[in-house]
Subunit: 632 residues, 3 copies
């Protein structure tokens, strides 16, 4: 458990480096990430290398006692790379070039660019792979940020056809899998397949899903190419820093080639710009962030990293990119770090050391102000550093497993069927429900064959069962809605869904509901947005008599999207069935169990009497925006 910081030596006079390094060490920081956007300074013209300044920066930082995370600079190819490869830009869905002048201006399918990326990664590996100060590598930066996974370029079209040919073998197989007989969409050969943009009305969802699978594979391919270049050159772990709520590529697939997963955690920006919470909740947590959003991603990246994960960038103060960018409440820079450690993070790096007074992020806070005066987060970081030695977190297995599957996100984006249907939102609603019950959660990928480690497994909206070990699972299982509702080719299975072994349910048809028209349930709460007309013996019915849940207390299929009340009720009942104790946490107070420790984390701007809400907690109150931990 270490703290760190992101640093850009190329932004500052060399004279300042040593002083900066000393101050980092003094603060208690151990990791320092550098290099990620520095290509134009490392190779200002093709083949004209300027390694010396970076050599010196590594030396200064390392000799001050810091460990370096070296970033490959491939998220920002310099101007000359773009001139050399004029086709490297992605095209948006309208066919407009997404050009030079900011970042992430490349198409993942462009072979020429992949060559350049591998070349610069290899050269960096050769130079720094055995440097004792360089203890970790970051490959590229924030895949998918700014909606950059999907490109409609010629390079993408060519690569997509190859990908399809590899997948289907024959065009007849593709026509069959997609059901192209519908609307005379049949192809005669792979060369006739275009990308699924610019169609008159919606394209075939199977076409869309395959394009999304392909696009995800292209990310993994480019990442893997850099991994293969670096592996022989270094023993340090390879990492990528993912972004919040980016579901356009499969993080598990990318993560499979890496050693550590990390993510960039901007709790307040994310609440403002990518949350489904009502405005009132956004208002209430505007200075702290959503109480569950960070935890969800911590658990997700612990899974993606096969247990090893970091926060590579941690918000330290106001950012510049959300619709509104207020100041975090005092204490949050400490709370966020501690929450990450409570979920098992090996490291938390604040972004960034000193606020840059120029360019796009000049209004993005750092640990220091542009005038090098300490910003509020510096002291909070130092406090965390001083507290860390007392705690050693071993996460172990959580009582509850929650399946999160990128392919399902693509499937329901291709076919929402109702305006509000969003896979992340659905899974996150279940996650929030579990958290409000005080339960700790592991995220489980869709190909997890052995679910036995968890006392309870929750599977909302899983497109198809695939390799998930539901058959053999003997714990408490809550599945649905929409789970098992498609074949791998994105067709409806016959016999009809859900096809969940041991549950005699049939989804006769589905309804997407207006937000003002939930369907009340017999035992309280309601289904909102989505409900299925189930056939089978009802464990619980809706007020209109249609079965809402089918199966048993230990193994049930849920035919709708529960609102908050129904969610809490159903999950509590399942948890009790699984022998788990549940709490009833007030808004903003959360609990995380990790090994021998229990953490309480308070996102609310009021204090709580701990023991009242969490039996067994130490006496006394937890303050607003405070964190507390004790041996359980």
């Amino acid at each position: 458990m270490k703290l760190g910081v992101c640093y850009y030596p190329e932004h500052w006079p060399e004279e300042q480096w040593a002083e900066d390094a000393a101050r980092m060490v003094e603060t208690g920081l151990i990791w320092v990430r550098i290099g990620e956007f520095a290509w134009s300074r490392l190779e200002p013209e093709e083949g004209d290398f300027r390694w010396e300044w970076l050599d010196r920066a590594v030396k200064v930082l390392g000799e001050a006692g810091l460990q370096v995370v070296m970033g490959t600079p491939t998220a920002t190819p310099p101007r000359w790379v773009c001139e050399k490869h004029p086709g490297l830009f992605a095209l948006d869905k309208h066919g407009h070039v997404r050009g030079f002048g900011s970042r992430r201006h490349y198409c993942f399918s462009h072979d020429g660019y992949r060559g350049e990326a591998v070349r610069i990664a290899r050269l960096m590996g050769e130079r720094y792979g055995r440097n004792s100060h360089v203890q970790a590598w970051q490959i590229d930066n924030e895949y998918g940020c700014h909606d950059t996974i999907y490109s409609y370029s010629d390079a993408a079209a060519v690569a997509f056809r190859q990908w399809l040919e590899a997948r289907y073998g024959s065009i007849e197989a593709l026509n069959d899998a997609w059901g192209n007989v519908f609307w005379s969409m049949e192809y005669r050969h792979f060369g006739e397949v275009f990308l699924p943009n610019l169609t008159v009305t919606e394209p075939n969802p199977s076409h869309v899903l395959d394009f999304k699978r392909f696009s995800s594979d292209q990310v993994a391919r480019l990442n893997r190419a850099q991994v293969l270049a670096l592996r022989p050159l270094t023993d340090a772990p390879l990492i990528h820093n993912y972004m919040g709520r980016i579901v356009e590529f499969d993080h598990f697939a990318v993560g499979a080639d890496l050693d550590i997963a990390s993510w960039d955690s901007y709790p307040m920006g994310f609440l403002e710009d990518r949350s489904d919470q009502p405005e009132e909740v956004k208002r209430r947590f505007a200075r702290s962030g959503d109480p569950d959003f960070q935890a969800f991603h911590h658990d997700l990246y612990r899974a993606v990293g096969k247990g090893r994960w970091w926060v590579m960038e941690q918000q330290p103060g106001p950012v510049n990119w959300a619709p509104h960018n207020p100041d975090p409440a005092p204490g949050m820079a400490r709370l966020w770090a501690w929450e990450a450690f409570a979920h098992g993070a090996e490291a938390v790096c604040y972004f960034r050391w000193r606020q840059a007074p120029f360019a796009q992020e000049q209004m993005h806070a750092g640990l220091l102000r542009p005038d090098s005066v300490a910003a509020p987060a510096l002291g909070e970081a130092a406090q965390v550093a001083s507290e860390l030695p007392g705690v050693e977190v071993e996460t172990g297995t959580a009582p509850v497993g929650l399946v999160f599957d990128y392919e399902s996100a693509w499937a329901w984006a291709a076919q929402p069927q109702g305006a509000e249907f969003d896979y992340f939102r659905l899974v996150f609603d279940f996650y929030r429900g579990l958290r409000r019950l005080g339960l700790s959660v592991d995220i489980v990928p869709r190909d997890c064959a052995d679910l036995s480690p968890w006392k309870m497994v929750v599977v909302p909206g899983l497109m198809h069962w695939g390799d998930l070990g539901v058959d053999a699972y003997e714990g408490v299982l809550v599945a649905g809605p929409r789970s098992g509702s498609k074949t791998a080719d994105f067709q409806m299975p016959v016999p009809l869904p859900p096809g969940l072994p041991g549950v005699a349910a049939t989804v006769a048809r589905v309804e997407s509901l207006r937000a003002d028209s939930p369907v009340p349930l017999e035992d309280g709460g309601a289904f909102r947005f989505w409900r299925e007309v189930l056939e089978g013996e009802a464990l619980e019915a809706a007020e209109d008599g249609v079965p809402a849940r089918i199966g048993t207390a230990r193994r049930q299929y849920l035919g709708g999207w529960p609102d908050d009340e129904a969610m809490m009720r159903i999950l509590r009942e399942a948890a009790e069935e699984a022998g788990l104790e549940t709490l009833d946490l007030p808004e903003g107070l959360r609990v995380r169990d990790a090994g021998k420790w229990r953490f309480a984390i308070n996102y609310a701007d009021r204090s709580w009497k701990l023991g009242k809400h969490i039996p067994g907690a130490p006496s006394g109150r937890i303050g607003a925006h405070d964190v507390s931990w004790w041996l359980r």
Copy 2:
């Protein structure tokens, strides 16, 4: 009065056809529509024809006792047609290609594509035109669906110039008609005229109106080309299936070449995705549809079909394409069919027989589920089939005529003058008012010279008087707002509007009103969205003293858009003047008189005591979502 269904034999194993056919017959279905999207199976490569499967399908269905509606597959040109004619795609208003991958991917102005469409239609006519099982033809499918009437392609630009030259003869005449002296927009020759997209600010509305007229003519031209190909080859009636609230082309002009009009009726999808009703009404009728929307279209297509009309596609359950897609209330699949018959439909065909488990419409319900189990609508269809023999509907002439004019829709789209001004909405508001009074309505086209069949004629928003027989009309006439406010060239007439013979009114100027700022009327209710500053002797004034209505009780010009209260009051007064009895129907309950029968149709989810609301009705109640009929 017959029921039918839409079927896609190419979607199912041939072994299943006979069983499907038998089950259709057993249900009481008589018509079966096939072929409409099957081009890639009929001609997978140019000139490589595979008629045999369709021959067998027609045989199996026909010999089971069904009558076939054969569709020409021209709404979905297969991939090879698009490769042969790379210019056949439409361009959107930004200049983006609207390409292959869904349907309706052609520009109506492309000569090469028209050739292909005529060729395949002729070949189908040659093969099936005299087949005794093929008793009707459908040409293409849903012209205008997915906003496909307007294309900004090169083919369209070339054709538009020819169209203009034919209309105006000389460029001077065009410059004059459009008033191109304004803003130096004058052309020197027809080759200089471009399509009215991509202009810096709004283009000349006369330019826009002519482009809309041209675009409508192109639809009629392509339809007529297929008609001309088929006519010599078959005696069966030719039909097109229109869509709800599509006003971008003149259905009367297309209908003039056909024998029967039909439309595709999706009451719930339409309420969700193309209704002006407030959200509260959408919520209330989410499972039944707008109580007047279907009736309006039934009356419209009875006019377009010169008395002969069908519902070619009838929603049977949840669809896949609206923002929300709930289940219809029990009974609605029956109610909708009966309502169509009450308005004079010859046939109602459910869409579709079996839900397809693949491609774009895999979530669109059919009469059967994908696993061939009966969906709820199958039983309701069977009930309708069993009830039909007891009723014979002859529509006759309704007491009220309501003028509906596509050109006026284009005019006010080109020049709304107020954000809420929409021609369909305006006319439909009048229609709803008449319906709530219990009045049956005929839709009247703008060129109807003899209005004497109707006791009362209502003319809202008619751009110019043209050939409409208002001069000689002696019944009760309610005209306006905006009626007669333009010349045929889309200029303001001098003397000023309305220019209605027998009514000494002048529209001094007009006001478009904020939705929160209606203008109250002296006798109750208000004008909303639109009001005219009239000069003349007031039949009624607004509260601010400006005349609101001018003329007499039998012949009046209305200078505004009445809200619900004013609408009911004014129409009731006029109906009484015309000697018509009026009702005061509660929400969701409607009446339709057809020949000797009176039908009551209840869209509400509650029952009503019939006699209380409809004097002369049989005693007892009408249930929720029920229909009732008696001899009047």
Copy 3:
């Protein structure tokens, strides 16, 4: 102080001109503006001139006693100019051509078009420059209307690179100024710089700001080219007519080359389509316009015109281009003219003489209806004409100076940091506050070195201090928020802002606030949208203890955007400190002092007892939509 009207002789039969002219004179109009859109009639083919009709029009109008404003027709190049210069069209930010068919269809950077514009201007100058009837010139029309300042054409890209090279000299200097080391955005030479559109995420704000500066310079350049052509040919004053709330180019820079500034005042259209006021205010003033919007622009253009300014187009009745276009309340056509005169206008010209029955503006009212009957505004104009002789306005210097700076508008558009942050809105909020206190205001440009004429100076949101004479200023100064927060290169200054001499404040960081989350101030009211975390000794603090204002009563920096209550309180306190008397005007009632006269202007639709609200006013009431003036 004269009235006038806009007239298009080319729209009407020549026989009508003399009668129109006589009627104008009879109404009391003196100025008549002609020619501005007539290029296609003056030169229908290249080099084929038809001056004769315009000669005759000038003669008829002039001999009737009118003074002509001659407009150069360069806002509407005719079709042949566009064919000769196919690259003259602007491109929008997506790269779509903005083509022929309306107006303003040219890119300011196109050299060929500049040549054409200069040529036609010179030819008109040669023909009419010494014509005794032509007493003023208007160059082009409404620069920037329809978002036409920014073009992403090739011509613009080429010109931008030249502009950058001239500004920076070396590419290293540009890379430095923009901070292009960030995200590897460094350029090797000027040819690599593209326009800041089509980037993946936001471009560098320094890049954006320079593009905005460049685009503004291109407007000034084209305007100046026409000025240089006309100067030798005429002694009449040269004018441009600006539009309301257009901030995309520097009006002071354009105005520097001209003799008189003018603007086109459409109070009701502007309230509907470009106001930040809540809907309720829009509703209340829908028939009169925002009570401060016109006054602000009057004061602005008095500054732009160095004291000489006109209203070139005055709304006379309903217009055609806002979302809603109601009728002005009776009296407004008089009130608006009088308000302009009260602010020092030399002339007010109504737009237009007679409503044109054709083309885009056929629903735009004139003083006459299309049938030549007087519209209501004609009588009101005549009334103004009859009242004018009794009043002579000399504006003098107002007690308060308010700095308005176009560059700051561009800066905060490039980097709003909060969704609601808009520079015009911020400055206008201060202006409204001053007006509600009864204070008359002068707009002050950013390069005003001597602020001593004003007793009080207000400087909200000034990007950098530049040449503004704040150091030496001894009056009462209220500066901020955001003032001085950038260097000229759009970097953050170190030491941190505001850098206001004499005020020991530091902006440690800033917060952009949700609209639902204002920060309450100790002494009443709140900051909304924006607040800064100030360091220094608080003159007033927020309720959370953070300093809200720093400095002294005579010289203070304000760290936030005051809401109405705080604004009135803070400005009143400052005004009292400056020895100014303040009022507390009710909604819609405003005061303007000009030389010896005090004017009261009532935008409300109710009357007020004057003396109750304005001490020293004559006894009696001011009616709804009335204006009143007296010697003070």
